[in-house]
């Protein structure tokens, strides 16, 4: 009981600290402002972990339901080889291959239909429609077509990532306004020059939006596809079998790895976006 109360007191203290922190006016001191912006969510995250630990230990919640974070951490540290093998199978093979193929083909198809307004008008509403569908359902079909190994998971990822990329790229390519097009015309630039010098740069924010959406979709797709059949390695496989054996700490370890990989993937795409679209208002305002 004391542990629970301790955790609750810690929570209150941290809440108070956060309230004080956001009350500070950093003025022109950007380093202080950045520090506060980093500290507040970190404190909140640590508080969540402490609360979690305190409540699960203090109320003796059965570990089958919810293991405390320390136990999950121990499990991660003890089974690094298994986690690494799963990570390789699911992320490095299925997710990356599917992501590159899906995004690449979506981009190329968007370029291919760029000159045909007819095809664009036909494909865009369909692409939007398909984006709302539970595409994950094709997983069993892909497993039957491409076998149990990572190729079938990559195929699911390709289908999931293709349509957001297609729709966003087509929209992005149409983003340059008439005035800019006219300017390119006065320069007597070819279609290709207009594409590389004007339209692709203006499309970049849209394309990166799709890349970011797809980075999360790809991981989900690969993991869920593994529920439908897989060799004896992979994150989805590990999750479903360890759940069956009630090894919940292993499941949480796997989820932690997935969360870390997903966040890192998203973060990497976001960093590349900042470097490529440095001119965009949403990036510029962040730097001041």
């Amino acid at each position: 009981m004391i542990v629970v109360i301790g955790a609750l007191v810690f929570w209150m203290a941290m809440w108070w600290l956060n309230q004080r922190l956001v009350g500070i006016d950093p003025g022109t001191n950007t380093a202080l402002a950045r520090g506060i912006n980093l500290a507040v969510p970190s404190i909140f995250g640590v508080t969540l972990l402490v609360l979690w630990e305190g409540i699960t230990r203090g109320l003796e919640v059965p570990t089958v339901l919810l293991p405390p974070p320390s136990m999950i951490w121990e499990r991660i540290a003890n089974s690094l080889p298994v986690l690494w093998a799963d990570f390789q199978q699911t992320f490095l093979k299925a997710v990356l291959a599917g992501y590159i193929l899906g995004c690449g083909s979506g981009f190329l198809v968007a370029l291919a239909i760029d000159r045909s307004p007819f095809l664009q008008r036909g494909l865009l509403p369909l692409g939007n429609f398909v984006s709302a569908l539970p595409i994950i359902g094709v997983a069993p079909i892909m497993v039957m077509w491409f076998g149990f190994d990572w190729q079938s998971k990559a195929a699911v990822v390709v289908i999931m990532t293709f349509f957001p990329m297609l729709v966003n790229t087509v929209q992005g390519l149409a983003a340059a306004d008439q005035m800019q097009h006219d300017l390119m015309r006065t320069y007597a630039s070819s279609w290709w020059q207009t594409l590389t010098k004007l339209r692709l740069p203006t499309a970049a924010p849209f394309i990166f939006n799709a890349l970011k959406i797809n980075s999360t979709l790809a991981l989900i797709g690969a993991i869920v596809a593994e529920f439908f059949g897989t060799p004896i390695v992979g994150m989805g496989f590990r999750i479903s079998t360890e759940v069956g054996r009630m090894n919940v700490d292993m499941v949480w370890a796997e989820i932690a790895v997935a969360a870390l990989a997903g966040s890192a993937f998203y973060g990497a795409v976001a960093l590349i976006e900042r470097a490529v679209t440095f001119w965009h208002p949403s990036v510029r305002s962040g730097r001041t």
């Binding site: 809440w15 956060n18 309230q19 922190l21 956001v22 506060i36 912006n37 507040v40 969510p41 404190i43 909140f44 995250g45 969540l48 089958v64 339901l65 919810l66 007819f118 095809l119 664009q120 008008r121 036909g122 494909l123 509403p125 369909l126 429609f129 709302a132 569908l133 539970p134 994950i136 359902g137 094709v138 997983a139 069993p140 079909i141 497993v143 039957m144 077509w145 980075s215 999360t216 989900i220 993991i223 869920v224 529920f227 439908f228 059949g229 994150m235 989805g236 999750i239 479903s240 759940v243 069956g244 919940v248 499941v251 796997e254 989820i255 997935a258 969360a259 997903g262 966040s263 993937f265």
Partner: protein, 295 residues
């Protein structure tokens, strides 16, 4: 752009896709036919292969009319209470989807109201809401189901909780944006009326957030359906569209998988359309001029 200007291209693309599908069915199912013929010691002509691939018992890729036939058989011809009726399975999935969607929307709106009105919550909760999105939450789905089952909770609620987890995020993000949509001048006007915070909320912030809310709801309802379907996977394929998918993949019933998939697609389309209808109704009630709809 007239409506005709859109229908013709869409129909053309659809026709092309169907033709491609038929061609694919012939191409992918042909090896089986050739194999059969070889075993029987006969040869098959191309036209025979084409006609045979259209009606295989267990095709690699079922032809479109086989899928439609199966859907017709399992919806119209079966009693709704039958375990083999697709409507029965769809209803199970749909009820979990809707329950999760409603809880998720309520939770999302509540969080958004908190974030907009409390600075500490804004700074501390918002980053974590965003982080929660980068986590492949569907991966936890089987565990949530199994764990809740162990606690004695089974049936609708566990699946609905997964839908909730997925659907609250777009609602939070959209509503935070929407509740902050009123401009400084409008807020100042409310201040000069000496409006209470509650009045400002109900008369200014809430109405101006409606377009954002409905845009988020469209995403949320689609993703709720995905959550419910994935939530049905680990329950041992008892009932629901997800269970049909899993059972189909266990027993190699391609036609069953495809028909469940089409049903899911139909449900998703219907749900998104319903939200769209509600959206335009609310906007009209609020005095939105036709043609001036928010993008």
């Amino acid at each position: 752009m007239s409506s005709l200007g859109k229908t013709v291209p869409i129909l053309t693309v659809l026709t092309a896709l169907t033709a491609l599908w038929y061609a694919g069915a012939v191409w992918m199912n042909a090896p089986f036919e050739r194999d059969q013929a070889e075993r029987a010691g006969t040869t098959v002509s191309f036209s025979e292969i084409v006609s045979n691939t259209m009606s295989q018992e267990r095709p690699v890729l079922p032809a479109p009319h086989q899928v439609i036939e199966e859907i017709y058989k399992t919806t119209v011809l079966k009693k709704i209470t039958s375990k083999r009726s697709l409507i029965y399975h769809s209803w199970i999935t749909l009820s979990a989807t809707l329950l999760g969607f409603i809880i998720g929307t309520a939770l999302g709106i509540a969080l958004a109201v908190g974030i907009v009105h409390n600075r500490a919550m804004d700074k501390s909760v918002m980053p974590w809401v965003i982080t929660s999105q980068t986590i492949p939450i569907l991966a936890i789905a089987p565990m949530i189901i199994v764990v809740l089952n162990a606690m004695g909770l089974s049936g609708l609620l566990p699946k609905a909780l997964i839908s909730t987890y997925l659907s609250f995020f777009p609602v939070v993000v959209g509503m935070v944006k929407g509740l902050r949509a009123p401009e400084r001048a409008q807020l100042d006007l409310m201040y000069t009326y000496s409006a209470t915070p509650a009045q400002t909320f109900w008369k200014l912030r809430w109405p101006s957030s409606m377009p954002y809310l409905f845009t988020s709801l469209k995403i949320a309802v689609a993703i709720s359906l995905v959550g419910a379907i994935v939530g049905e996977l680990p329950t041992g394929a008892v009932a629901g569209l997800g269970a049909r998918l899993l059972a189909g993949s266990y027993y190699g019933q391609m036609i069953q998988i495809w028909s469940a998939l089409f049903m899911a697609a139909f449900l998703a389309a219907a749900l998104v359309m319903l939200v769209g209808v509600a959206h335009s109704y609310v906007l009209r009630r609020m005095g939105e001029k036709p043609g001036a709809a928010a993008a």
